[in-house]
Symmetry: C2
Subunit: 113 residues, 2 copies
Amino acid sequence: MRVPVERAMQVCPVEVAVSVLGGAWKLTLVKYLLEGTHRFGELGRRVPTANTKTLTRQLRELEQDGIVARKVFQQVPPKVEYSLTEWGLSLAPLVALMNEWGTAFVDSPPSSR
Amino acid sequence: MRVPVERAMQVCPVEVAVSVLGGAWKLTLVKYLLEGTHRFGELGRRVPTANTKTLTRQLRELEQDGIVARKVFQQVPPKVEYSLTEWGLSLAPLVALMNEWGTAFVDSPPSSR
DNA sequence: CAGTATCCTTCAAGATACTG
DNA sequence: CAGTATCTTGAAGGATACTG
């Protein structure tokens, strides 16, 4: 985490959001989870550039921040399901907006890029 | 920048937005610039936790990404004004949403925090 | 005033290999 | 299947001092 939430809130609320959601692939994971529950492996296949260690880390941080819920099924082979909490679901408008903005940005990038 | 834009777009548009805006204090700077043009020193006073080097770096990256415009007045003492480009202005709804979300998050954080 | 120039620390992210 | 365990590296961010 670049800036801890406690410190971010001293500065500005938007910084809090960045602190919670700014990690690599975090918002992408939220976007996929908005479609519904996913297993660990499914998420890994949808974010192929992240390896298992990175993926685990992001998901644990999101869980810690109350965005994601993790449900372990005690069975062999193991099964773990990830879903969104209420706080996670509340991100839907934000994710939609960022998705639009990002799409527009790559479609017609500023001349300086 | 954690993930280069070029790589982010391979994965997901939301990751592009994170890549452009995810740096420390970047979105806060945009938020202030939405209020109007600022001089370098003014921005520094509004984000007191960032030192001049960090501030310069963020502003230059935002300029490079076409979010911020930098206008130098050739005079002594020097004067530099920062403002938003069209792309920067287009972030207004996003910033507002993140500001709301961040505020709500610190007001009633999830029990896991 | 608006930065540079250095130096430094930390840590996120990835590569790779292994396990209950 | 869903992770750990190690190791490495790049770069972000900060502290401090200096300058046109």
